[in-house]
Amino acid sequence: MTTPAWGTVPAEAHGPIGVPLVDLLDRVLATGVVVSGDLVIAIAEVPLIRLSLHALLSSVNERVPAPWPDSGPL
């Protein structure tokens, strides 16, 4: 099997521009390997960032919201 060279990464492989930010943040913030060692900063250790995001996007909320809000109409 031949591996394509990085120099020839097809344009579409650069990722769809239209990926919703909320789905992207689910992946780049909430999961993944946190490499231990000499991290200058790790996102999970920055409460300020989580706080400000809380107002913007629930995907980075610490709490799992109830899927059904109680306030729905009868």
Binding site: H14, G15, V33, S58, S59, P67, G72
Partner: protein
Amino acid sequence: MTVLTYAYAVCRPHDGPAPTGLTGLDPGSPVRTLPAGPLTAVVQDVPAADYAEEALRRRLSDRAELERCARAHHEVITAVSSVTATVPLPLATLYRGDERVREALREQETSFVTALDRLAGRAEWGIKVYAPTAPTAPTPDPAPLTGRAYLDRVRNRHQGREQRQNAALQAAERVDAVVQSLAVATRRLRPHGPEATGPHRTHILNAAYLLDTARTRELRAALTSLRGDEPVIEIELSGPWAPYSFADAGTAP
């Protein structure tokens, strides 16, 4: 100028030329590879003044800048994972220089190698399931109601809503079961709240699945038939993603 090393991803050594055409987070330095034994990190120099703790905190607290960083991070990871098995690293993985990156990779060499073996030839897919939110205003009853009739009506609406919710949740579980049967690993993510989904639907399933790339066609076919079988819910498929949700162990289905 003091620089930090921003690490995007870990993969195996690659024979091809270094990645080109990738801007990464900072246009001032190229995205490059950093060999470390049996592994290679994909990294970029970034100015410490812009990415050290306080600066980064401010940067990521700004919605527009957070989005720019997340998309730049994603672009590099997607490009790398399109050519070789890749362990994506989280946004804002920064080291005080290349040697620190090598040390971190050396320390976790075995788990990275294991992860790369597990991820080779596979991709992540996302499934989101939504249920429609109940209509906002009940239709007013023209005739005045007795107390008993009123209570009956309230109870019926309660039961109706509960039934619709249960039906949607069960449909979402059936979707999950079908996709899990095609996957080698799965992970539940947090459902999004109304800020992200809007008022007219409720997000009831947010899940990621790791699939052999050979099963992509099967996945798409399964989604087509699920959409026909489950009219109560709305199903969204996204992918293929780099295996963000499976960089660590994940859960076997």
